[in-house]
């Protein structure tokens, strides 16, 4: 079109390939896939810089030693800060989160975590403290830790706590080791730990790691621990029972006093999996129910955001008789000196964390508890339970509810009828729920419910949101009855990718990017 002879139109080779500035993978602008950051890499490009330094140079070979010195540093991407920022921003835009909308994942308590708690952790006085600093340099931190222990003891009705465990499962193992230590101190070796058949998978896995054998306790028709079966199972080889109450069906174990009596009469201990504590804050306390050991998932109940999979924190609180076994060192206030010090309990099982636990996560929970206070926490439970109860009532006539107990903060519906009627499985309902603008509930857990959908609205969702979820579920079921399930089975349609082939992933493992994956590479097979 210009009068000139057309210039060379094929670009120089080195300019071709994935580009860091192309945004088709960001759902606001397209439905493409995002290149690997390694595909955006160009030799010699960089984001890094380091300050000027007048420290004398060293000769690496002599400083490190030829036998230790690498020929080349590890393979890492070479990208500009601009491309890095764009890549990671686009990746983030391909991810749903609580800050987008409701996330009623049962058992996970995906509630809104106040921004206040984020801000608290950025205070340099907390963030910049080294874990091995002498205690007089970290009195503020220690005060916070002791304060949090006190709060958690108040909430659970226990006597003392350790903040070391990094997550719920770590808390479980800590609890089981406490159990073991307690029995040992009494000169006995018990080999079995009881777990209800509805328990979370971490419970049995932790039992094994704690060196015990798992014995399953069946649920009865109510969805609760079968008390008779429990009585039969308890003998003097049982170290304890792990229970979550409300249990993973969202039901309160009404017979908890009887259960506790059965165990305690046999010299066994009662362990409380606190993943469901959100339901009972200020209503009933594990300690008052007879539990000896409690772990708490601060990333469920106490405002540690889940971070795409962590970090969390899983403190363990215990009754007085177990306190001497807690991991050390623990922060303690020494009334004499008026200072906080580290101290290790006399019969401590030992450390369960490299330092003092996930401290910055603990600071979030401390801030959250301060913001709520005792009455506020009770209100959390009230709204969490009411939201679930309401939603379940709204769905009574469209799903199966194998158990008839009133639900607490979550409930488990079954899509069994839907499956037999329209070939729509729990998975299809979940995927179709995405297109309604919500994250799906937990699927296929607990294992004792067929085609389980475990729904936990949480207290931070407004009544309107809960109602909107009800309408969405009802629409899905109605639509399946109309179209034989076609829409549900092909859902989701609104996401950056469609249903993902999980089987292929496990069959042919591709667990890291290799240069063969580069589309510019002749051996590469993908688009």
């Amino acid at each position: 079109m210009s009068g000139r002879t057309p210039p060379e139109t094929s670009a120089p080779e080195i300019l071709r390939g994935p580009s860091g500035g192309r945004a088709t993978s960001a759902p606001v602008a397209g439905d493409g896939t995002e290149p690997s950051i390694f595909e955006l890499s160009v030799a010699g490009r960089r984001a890094w810089s380091f300050g000027a330094t007048d420290v004398p140079e060293v000769d690496l070979t002599s400083a490190v030693g030829a036998e230790h010195l690498a020929d080349a540093p590890p393979m890492l991407p070479e990208v500009s800060e601009r491309d890095l920022v764009a890549h990671m921003t686009r990746l983030s835009s391909r991810n749903y989160s609580v800050d987008h909308g409701a996330y009623p994942l049962g058992s996970c308590t995906m509630k809104y975590n106040p921004k206040l708690c984020d801000t608290a952790t950025t205070l340099p006085g907390f963030a910049a403290a080294h874990p091995a600093q002498p205690t007089d340099q970290i009195q503020g931190w220690m005060e916070l830790l002791v304060g949090l222990e006190d709060f958690l003891c108040s909430v659970t009705g226990m006597h003392a706590a350790t903040l070391q465990p990094a997550a719920g499962a770590a808390g479980e193992l800590t609890g089981l080791l406490l159990m073991r230590a307690w029995h040992s101190a009494r000169g006995r070796q018990r080999s079995k730990v009881l777990i209800p058949d509805s328990a979370h998978g971490t419970n049995p896995a932790s039992v094994t790691l704690g060196g015990f054998d798992v014995v399953e306790v069946p649920s009865d028709a109510r969805g609760l621990v079968d008390l008779d079966a429990l009585r039969d199972l308890v003998d003097d080889d049982v170290a304890g029972l792990m229970l979550t109450n409300p249990n993973t069906l969202g039901l309160f174990e009404r017979d908890i006093r009887e259960i506790a009596a059965v165990l305690h009469d046999a010299g066994s201990l009662l362990y409380y999996d606190g993943a469901n504590l959100n339901a009972i804050l200020g209503v009933v306390r594990p300690g008052d129910m007879g539990f000896d050991i409690v772990h708490l998932n601060l990333h469920k109940t106490f405002a540690v955001p889940h971070g795409g999979g962590g970090p969390g924190a899983g403190p363990v609180a215990v009754s007085e008789r177990l306190a001497p076994f807690l991991p050390g060192p623990r922060p303690e206030f020494d009334a004499q000196s008026g200072r906080f010090e580290w101290a290790t309990p006399e019969c401590s099982i030992g450390r369960v964390h490299g330092w003092h636990g996930n401290a910055l996560a603990l600071a979030r929970s401390y801030a959250y508890i301060l913001a709520n206070g005792g009455d506020g926490l009770r209100r959390v439970a009230d709204a969490a339970v009411l939201n679930a109860r309401y939603l379940q009532e709204r769905l009574r006539d469209v799903f199966d509810f194998p158990y008839d107990e009133p639900c607490m903060h979550e409930f488990v519906a079954s899509a069994a009828s839907l499956k037999s009627d329209c070939d729509v499985r729990a998975m299809d309902v979940a995927k179709r729920f995405i297109d309604e603008g919500f994250h799906p509930p937990t699927m296929y857990f607990p294992l004792i419910v067929d085609e389980a959908l475990m729904v936990e609205p949480t207290e931070t969702e407004s009544p309107q949101t809960v109602e909107a979820m009800a309408v969405a579920f009802r629409r899905i079921v109605e639509e399946a009855n109309d179209d034989g399930g076609a829409a549900a089975r092909s859902a989701p349609r609104s996401t950056p990718v469609g249903r993902v082939d999980e089987v292929a992933a496990a069959k042919k493992l591709r667990l890291r990017w290799t240069p063969d994956d580069d589309p510019g590479n002749p051996t590469h097979s993908k688009e």
Partner: protein, 469 residues
């Protein structure tokens, strides 16, 4: 939902907590009218009725005996005051403390990206269609960690270095069907203690002593499942990894290396030196000191038959969606607790995803040259610091083995006293090793990162001289 008259209405909870500043259960959105409507729908009369089926005997009477809730601004004020009661290493003092936790510079892009709410407020990516962002970031993280350690497979994070070490030994025990593990005394004492605590019921943990900073593996290892060696070890010394690999493999054991990922910028990878499994502490990449957590457990291993069955932790795999587009998904979940329950390879569920994402961002910011430069600067600073410090009367090396950017000093006085005096001069002098390595005498471990300037090193050496005078 707004109606014109709405603005004139008063909030029901207005007076609930004193002068209207703060409402009980502040983050609960429900108004009293809504609560009533929902209760009525459920056939209930009061909130208390929600719990009618809970036996009275266990019901809490009188509510939680705790603080009253505070408004946001009051919470912040309290926390600011508490934070002010710390003299934080990387803020108020010039720090030479390391021992597994280091104050490296954090590029501004790292928090800006990792704090995006899509990363912070999402769950574990169980629903891949809504989670491609986290999944792909973890896939890239796995690639980088595998590369750092010169191994083929890395998982998507464990809690911290200590728990990664535990998982490494558990894996070795399962893979070899043996129960004895040998842990070098050069492994951080806290890590050793965590290993003892967590594997105690199942494994027989033996300690191999260090001599002059280097592990002396005993001759008779008694059917070991694994050897665990640090590189550099907790004393800062460079162990002989190929030799350890030889010992391990000769005994039919796996070599698990506890490797420093910053040092990986200059050191030969532990994988290339014979380690079967590498574990380590990822804190230097993307996360502040934070009194020791949340940190990041790095875990990598070679491709082997035991991977599919025994690899601990989450794994992200590449696959395709129903339109054949490259996609990512959690994979090999058949190893995990939610499928395999009591026979699972590990109990880990919640892990450290956000920190892993931060590490991937930080490592991408560095790239190979930046990582090398980072490591080189640490080495350079330590080199200079060693020169300055060992000139001081009353200071001598605790070991003569080769160290990298952290090294133990033997002092003429007890270390706690020296640390107190240094703090008065504005320095966090290092970490007292005396309780954990009494054989070394009054030993202080000094680490020098790229953040330390020549002036600071000079100032520190002057202060130490004064403290010892």
């Amino acid at each position: 939902m707004m109606s014109p008259g709405a603005v004139a209405q008063t909030c029901d909870h207005r007076a609930a907590n004193g002068e209207g500043e703060h409402r009980v259960g502040h983050y609960v959105p429900h108004t009293d009218d809504e609560l009533s409507a929902m209760l009525a729908f459920c056939g209930l009369e009061s909130l208390d009725d929600l719990y009618a089926h809970i036996p009275d005997a266990v019901r809490l009477v009188g509510g939680l005996d705790m603080v009253d809730g505070l408004a946001e601004t009051d919470v912040m004020a309290r926390l600011r005051a508490m934070a002010g009661r710390n003299s934080a290493a990387a803020e108020d003092l010039v720090s030479f403390a390391g021992f597994g936790a280091y104050d490296h510079e954090l590029p501004t892009a790292v928090p800006a990206l990792m704090m995006r709410s899509e990363f912070v407020t999402s769950y574990t990516p169980y629903q891949p269609e809504l989670s491609q962002g986290v999944l792909q970031a973890l896939f890239e993280y796995q690639t980088m960690v595998a590369s750092l350690f010169g191994l083929e497979i890395a998982n998507a994070s464990l809690y911290d270095g200590a728990s990664a070490a535990v998982e490494g030994l558990n894996l070795a025990a399962a893979a070899t069907k043996r129960t004895t593990v040998w842990v070098s005394e050069g492994i951080h004492p806290n890590v050793r203690e965590v290993i003892r605590t967590l594997t105690g019921p199942r494994l027989d943990v033996r300690i191999a002593p260090v001599l002059n900073g280097i592990t002396a593996w005993p001759d008779d290892l008694e059917e070991p499942a694994a050897l665990l060696v640090g590189y550099p070890n907790a004393l800062g010394c460079l162990e002989d990894v190929p030799a350890a690999a030889q010992v391990a493999h000769d005994a039919g054991a796996l070599l698990v290396a506890y490797a420093d990922p910053v040092a990986a910028g200059v050191l030969r990878s532990v994988g290339s030196q014979g380690a079967d499994v590498a574990v380590g502490e990822g804190q230097p990449f993307g996360t502040p000191l934070g009194l020791g957590g949340p940190y990041l457990g790095l875990f990598a291993c070679r491709q082997a038959s035991w991977v599919r069955r025994w690899l601990p932790g989450r794994l992200v795999g590449e696959t395709v969606d129903n339109q054949d587009r490259r996609s990512y998904v959690l994979t090999l979940s058949t190893r995990e607790q939610h499928i395999r329950r009591e026979t699972a390879s590990s109990n880990v569920c919640t892990n450290q995803t956000l920190i892993a994402v931060a590490a991937a961002i930080h490592l991408s910011w560095l790239g190979p040259d930046g990582l090398r430069e980072l490591a080189t600067r640490c080495v350079r600073g330590a080199h200079y610091a060693r020169k300055q410090l060992f000139r001081i009367p009353g200071v001598e090396p605790s070991v003569s083995s080769r160290t990298l950017y952290e090294f133990p000093l033997r002092l003429e006085r007890p270390v706690p006293d020296v640390l107190d005096r240094l703090a008065e001069e504005g320095y966090l002098g290092g970490v007292d090793l005396t309780p954990d390595y009494p054989d070394l005498g009054n030993t202080m471990l000094v680490a020098v990162t790229e953040t330390r300037t020549r002036d600071q090193i000079d100032g520190f050496s002057a202060a130490l001289e004064k403290a010892l005078a």
